[in-house]
């Protein structure tokens, strides 16, 4: 079972994006959407449900992530999420 997570974050430098992506991958997440500009990044990922709680604190721990907000999208069921995310990136 996967859970969709959405984060808005501020970065000290854009070059730290790979670190963010590598961390998501290590935790078993699949990034489905990423937009980033001017030290801000918005990220949507699919996380294994039993590990979903690990993403926010681990991302926050990165020194280059100076703020992190988890956005909760109401009314989205896990089954819908991949298609929705896919449409958004298309």
């Amino acid at each position: 079972m996967m859970k969709s997570l959405t984060f808005a974050m501020k970065l000290r430098q854009m070059s730290s994006l790979p670190k963010v992506l590598m961390l998501c991958q290590r935790l078993g997440g699949t990034v489905t959407y990423l937009s980033a500009a001017d030290g801000q990044a918005n990220l949507v990922l699919l996380a294994p449900r039993d590990r979903a709680h690990r993403f926010a604190p681990q991302l926050r721990r990165l020194v280059d992530v100076t703020s992190l907000t988890e956005l909760h999208v109401l009314g989205v069921t896990p089954a819908q999420t991949p298609r929705r995310a896919g449409r958004r990136t298309a």
């Binding site: 590598m22 604190p57 926050r60 721990r61 020194v63 280059d64 100076t66």
Partner: protein, 560 residues
């Protein structure tokens, strides 16, 4: 305005931060820095391999509580640091690594000895910098020192191209005490401490598990005060050894895979765990579903990531441990908790499960008997470092460290080769203390070239090589779980380690027969200067108790 080179900026910042000793190995891309070192107050120790520089700096930090510093050149110098950086990260050591880099104009051209250091250390460091402009360096180095030593400490890498080391700047930087979005010392709400207190008040069989976070927070004294008040049973993880006073009536020992019987039993039977500065490592918990099945859990940790990471907790205190205890201790006066002494004694009475090894029929030395004798001889105030393997577990089961700085071991990473160089670092940090390095014959051979450094610096540390002619821990697993099929573990043609040490200029002893143990140990431990003892041990002794991988703590195997 005073102009300083990049190299001088770094050296001044280190000296101002109280660093006295740095460990390193030079090369082309770090030569300007090495030139500047000549005119600096820093003592530079030339190791014989960069990995040893990281472990020495790590040992220096763990034994002293101060930041350790290591230096390497670009390319292969930097890549040789990787194992040590990972080791420091896993055990949260404040380690600052300075690497030389090819000149800025050549970065990205596959220049001679260029390696992508940021790319290499991204996943294993707390943070890293590559300095492109000397004007940025004062602030970067100040920030690097701040980051490595505060919060949950960890390795920070500063990669400095050669031209930046040479270039000059007039910029200065005061020590930094703030980085945007970074909390250097989290302190939890008092309400959380009250919740923990209420949980403790309602417990009948509580157990405390304390880990490396206690030492890193400088909370050992407060923790011992807390133990004296609560009188509850206390378990120390591998990196928490020494946090509890070894004379404390309720010190159960170590938990987990090779933990003491009474520790694992207490975890299985308790109704509350107070976890302080621990990570719930899989080697500690065994099968998670079977871990502390009856217990509610209070967890204090400086790193939010650790809270409910693996084990769901009932009270999560995101806090520096010392700060949390400072709030907690007064509550015991105003609102006392039950008397846990009876449960404590019951838990202690289960025994350690460390059965005396039968004397080997061949008259050889039983490694557990040897370590019992060694621990007796050296007492609790000597600093003991270990390598990784069976000897590490036997030592951890037997050491009676008087303080957590007295037991130095690679816990999280389990890095073979750590024992000897970390002892070297510990001896530099604590010049007037006794230091003992315990290594297996496998791990010793990974970094034994440091015998040359030890001799040159005439470090009075003592080295014990426990030679069982096997990669013992792997052999034990092959014996127990792979049907005795020994694969790639044979070290039967080991060199004569005593002769080898003599070639390096050390005093050396050989212990071959059990009945000469006492006199040989005394001669070795009491001689002047660096000395190595080559103990030729019984070949196939196993570490017990043991919780097989994937099993629960209740499924502990006590002997073969």
């Amino acid at each position: 305005m005073l102009k300083r080179t990049g190299s001088k900026v770094v050296i001044d910042a280190l000296a101002d931060a109280g660093v006295t000793t740095v460990f390193g190995y030079p090369g082309g891309a770090i030569m300007p820095f090495y030139d500047a070192l000549l005119d600096s107050p820093l003592e530079h120790i030339l190791v014989r391999h960069e990995q040893s520089a990281t472990h020495a700096a790590d040992g220096y930090a763990r034994a002293s509580g101060r930041m350790g510093v290591c230096i390497a050149t670009s390319g292969p110098g930097a890549t040789n640091l990787v194992t040590g950086i990972c080791t420091a990260a896993m055990d949260s050591t404040p380690l600052l690594c300075i690497t030389g880099q090819v000149p800025t104009a050549l970065i990205g051209t596959d220049a001679f000895q260029e390696a992508d250091v940021p790319g290499l250390v991204t996943a294993i460091s707390k943070h890293y910098y590559q300095v492109r402009d000397v004007d940025d360096l004062p602030e970067i180095i100040a920030e690097a020192i701040f980051l490595t030593t505060t919060g949950r400490p960890g390795p920070v890498v500063v990669d400095i191209p050669k031209d930046v080391q040479i270039a000059t700047t007039t910029r200065r930087c005061e020590p930094i005490d703030h980085v945007d979005g970074y909390v250097a010392r989290p302190v939890c709400d008092e309400a959380k401490v009250r919740l923990a207190h209420e949980l403790l008040k309602s417990a009948e069989k509580p157990v405390c598990i304390v880990g490396g976070g206690c030492k890193l927070s400088g909370a050992t004294e407060k923790f011992r005060e807390w133990c004296d008040i609560t009188q509850m049973p206390v378990i120390t993880t591998l990196n928490g050894i020494g946090c509890a006073d070894p004379e404390y009536k309720g010190w159960l020992g170590m938990p987990g895979m090779h933990g003491h019987r009474r520790s694992n039993r207490a975890i299985t039977e308790c109704d509350l765990i107070v976890a302080m500065g621990i990570r719930f490592d899989d080697r500690v918990t065994g099968k998670l579903a079977m871990f502390a099945p009856e217990a509610r859990i209070i967890h204090i940790d400086i790193d939010e990531c650790e809270l409910s990471k693996l084990v769901k907790v009932d009270a999560a205190l995101h806090s520096d441990m010392g700060a949390a205890l400072e709030m907690w201790l007064p509550l015991f006066t105003s609102d006392p908790v039950p008397d846990f002494a009876e449960w404590r004694d019951e838990a202690m009475a289960i025994g350690t499960g460390l059965n005396p090894a039968p004397a080997p029929a061949d008259g050889k030395v039983a490694p557990t008997t040897l370590l019992d004798e060694v621990m007796q001889l050296i007492g609790g105030d000597a600093i003991v470092t270990t390598d990784v393997g069976q000897h590490q577990m036997w030592a951890a089961q037997r050491v009676r460290a008087s303080h957590p700085t007295k037991f130095v071991t690679s816990g999280g990473a389990g890095t073979m080769g750590f024992g000897l160089p970390s002892a070297m670092g510990a001896q530099f940090a604590c010049k007037d203390q006794r230091v003992l390095a315990i290594a297996g014959d496998g791990g010793f051979q990974m970094t034994m070239s440091e015998l040359a450094t030890i001799r040159r610096c005439n470090l009075p540390l003592k080295i014990l090589v426990m030679d069982n002619k096997f990669l013992g821990m792997v052999r034990q697993w092959q014996e127990m779980f792979f049907d005795n099929r020994y694969s790639g573990v044979d070290l039967s043609d080991n060199p004569d380690f005593a002769a080898l040490a003599r070639v390096f200029g050390l005093t050396a002893f050989t212990l071959n027969e059990a009945d000469r143990m006492g006199e040989t140990l005394a001669a070795w431990w009491n001689c002047d200067g660096p000395a190595l003892l080559h103990a030729i041990c019984h070949l196939e002794e196993n570490v017990f108790p043991m919780v097989p991988a994937g099993a629960g703590l209740a499924d502990m195997v006590e002997s073969a």
